[in-house]
């Protein structure tokens, strides 16, 4: 399937590719939290978001993530953006009262500049989120991600959560995604040879077309799963038994650098945030302005 390229793992060998997936997952969560801090002074929030955007672009460059993908995925999001604009700009919100007005319809209803800012900020955050997850998924094999998940979920074994089974199911599902995609493509082509048109046709025709794809796909998936369980059993797999592990995730010097760097950024933003919440006005824009009058 040629069109499933969004966030797909790309087999390069960059700094980011070599990081421990557990570490990458942790850094991802740290940075996501960091971009969601909001400050009382909006110019500060905006400035920090801009800084994050530059940082993430750098990360994407280092990890050789394709920018084209980002634009493609944004293109498919235009509907969401319009939706957000409508929600934020046209639905009255008491919080904006008293802020500069963009357009006054009548004495009860006005559109505020602040609502545009708010909406733009949301969209910016979505873009930031996109960039981050893209860096993670295109530099980490899905299977490594399951190992990382399994590692983080280990404490859940205490409450008898089937951690191992979940991870095994997940990894087998991931292992078979390419196989099933190939199969889907093959069945689609076979049905197209029989005159099925997956793109056009009325509702009834489309329904039939989908059925002609889904049923063979299910039949073969069920057969596959039966054969797979036989093969696993034949090689001595017992979900209840203890197993040793071949894969060992290792935390290296690159990971130390990455986590220190991410930690520093997070710490800095968190410090500013605490100051902000304890009453200090963080005028980041003016601080920089004072230090550097030519800005």
């Amino acid at each position: 399937m040629n069109n499933v390229t969004f966030g797909r793992y790309t087999p390069y060998n960059t700094f980011t590719h070599k990081l421990d997936p557990r570490n990458k997952l942790f850094i991802l969560i740290l940075l996501i939290v960091a971009i969601f801090f909001q400050f009382h002074v909006w110019s500060t929030t905006l400035l920090l978001s801009g800084a994050f955007l530059i940082l993430f672009i750098l990360m994407m460059l280092i990890s050789r993530v394709s920018f084209l993908n980002i634009f493609k995925s944004l293109k498919s999001m235009w509907f969401l953006i319009i939706f957000l604009l409508v929600i934020y700009v046209f639905i009255p919100n008491k919080a904006y009262e008293g802020t500069p007005i963009c357009y006054q319809f009548n004495e009860h209803y006005a559109i505020y500049w602040a609502s545009f800012y708010q909406c733009g900020y949301i969209i910016l955050r979505i873009i930031l989120l996109f960039c981050l997850t893209m860096v993670l998924t295109s530099t980490t094999k899905p299977m490594d991600l399951t190992y990382a998940f399994e590692w983080y979920m280990t404490p859940l074994k205490l409450i008898r959560f089937p951690v191992h089974e979940t991870a095994m199911t997940l990894s087998i599902a991931l292992r078979f995604i390419p196989t099933l995609l190939d199969e889907t493509e093959r069945i689609m082509k076979a049905q197209e040879s029989r005159g099925v048109d997956f793109g056009r046709g009325g509702l009834g025709k489309k329904f039939k077309a989908i059925i002609s794809l889904i049923i063979p796909l299910f039949v073969s998936a069920i057969q596959r799963s039966e054969e797979l369980s036989d093969a696993m059993e034949a090689r001595g797999y017992d979900p209840r038994a203890k197993r040793t592990k071949y894969r060992k995730l290792t935390f290296g010097w690159r990971d130390a650098i990455a986590i220190l760097f991410a930690g520093a950024i997070f710490g800095g933003v968190l410090y500013l945030f605490i100051l902000d919440r304890t009453g200090t006005q963080i005028e980041l824009f003016q601080w920089i302005f004072k230090v550097n009058p030519g800005f």
């Binding site: 040629n2 390229t5 790309t10 087999p11 390069y12 093959r186 069945i187 082509k189 076979a190 049905q191 197209e192 040879s193 029989r194 005159g195 099925v196 048109d197 059925i211 002609s212 049923i215 063979p216 039949v219 073969s220």
Partner: protein, 285 residues
């Protein structure tokens, strides 16, 4: 000429790190009423090539002509694709996996209805097609999922035959079948050829090629390594080879290397070889 392919090039996943050139400048022609075979190792591009023939794949560059239909690299410029697919039908490898209707007759009629044949007429043609592949009334109302593998394959082939295409393309029609099943399918295909259809077959089985086909195209790493009659194939395709040479022809080649007066182009079976070596015994004495 039924089919003309000019400088066909196809790249899987272009512009990604996984980009893979499957076909690299293939030019060939296939005449009307041919019984042609595409051979080559796994990954040589033969399946990719035949999927261009009814526009399931669109060339990255180059063009194809299938009788009055033309396929070019610009997707939107290709019109009448449905008519093309009625004219040239493709039977996939392991076609039994494409069955989905609740009865055999409905599944065979499915393709016909997609091409605009009315229901009653489609069922009637479906019955004819099923009879022609050797499945009688007993099977019409059965669910395809309760049949054996060989029977399911015949249902799938009937589904294509019912469409009555002028050109029939089969990808590995005998894969996974035993000797008897393979024979049944091949005699069916041969009957289609005798009825005036052009047959194009993708296969690994050299015995089938030598027995049934009159033209052969060898692909190697996405390029055409040989096109011509089956007679000269083993003379021209050397050792480094794009194909596995069957033991019969290995023996014939060895005899030729030894200087024996053997005509490889006349050998189609073990018996042909025996006929040629018959007199040698006396010569040795």
């Amino acid at each position: 000429m039924a089919i003309q392919i000019k400088d066909l090039r196809y790249v899987y996943l272009p512009k990604t790190p996984n980009a893979n050139v499957a076909l690299d400048g293939v030019t060939l022609t296939i005449p009307d009423n041919a019984f042609a075979a595409f051979i080559g190792r796994t990954g040589s591009g033969k399946t990719t090539l035949v999927q261009h023939l009814n526009a399931l794949l669109i060339p990255t560059s180059g063009e194809l002509e299938v009788d009055e239909f033309k396929i070019v690299s610009k997707k939107r410029k290709n019109k009448k694709i449905k008519e093309l697919r009625k004219h040239l039908s493709l039977v996939f490898q392991f076609p039994e996996y494409q069955l989905f209707e609740e009865t055999v007759e409905k599944d065979v009629a499915f393709g016909l209805k997609n091409f605009g044949v009315k229901n009653d007429e489609a069922i009637k043609l479906a019955h004819e097609a099923l009879l022609s592949v050797g499945l009688d009334e007993k099977y019409f109302q059965k669910s395809p999922f309760e049949l054996s593998g060989g029977e399911r394959r015949r249902v799938a082939i009937a589904g294509i035959l019912a469409i009555n295409p002028d050109i029939l393309v089969l990808d590995e029609p005998t894969a996974g079948l035993d000797v008897k099943g393979a024979k049944d399918v091949m005699s069916l295909v041969q009957k289609m050829h005798e009825n005036g259809k052009t047959i194009i077959m993708v296969t690994h089985d050299m015995d089938l090629v030598m027995k049934y086909c009159n033209l052969v195209y060898v692909l190697k790493d996405g390029k055409l390594a040989y096109q011509g009659s089956t007679d000269k194939l083993f003379d021209q395709v050397g050792e480094d080879s794009a194909i596995e040479i069957p033991p019969l022809y290995q023996l014939a080649q060895k005899l030729k290397e030894r200087g024996a007066p053997i005509q490889i182009e006349n050998i189609k079976s073990v018996d042909d070889l025996i006929n040629q070596v018959k007199g040698w015994k006396k010569r040795h004495e």
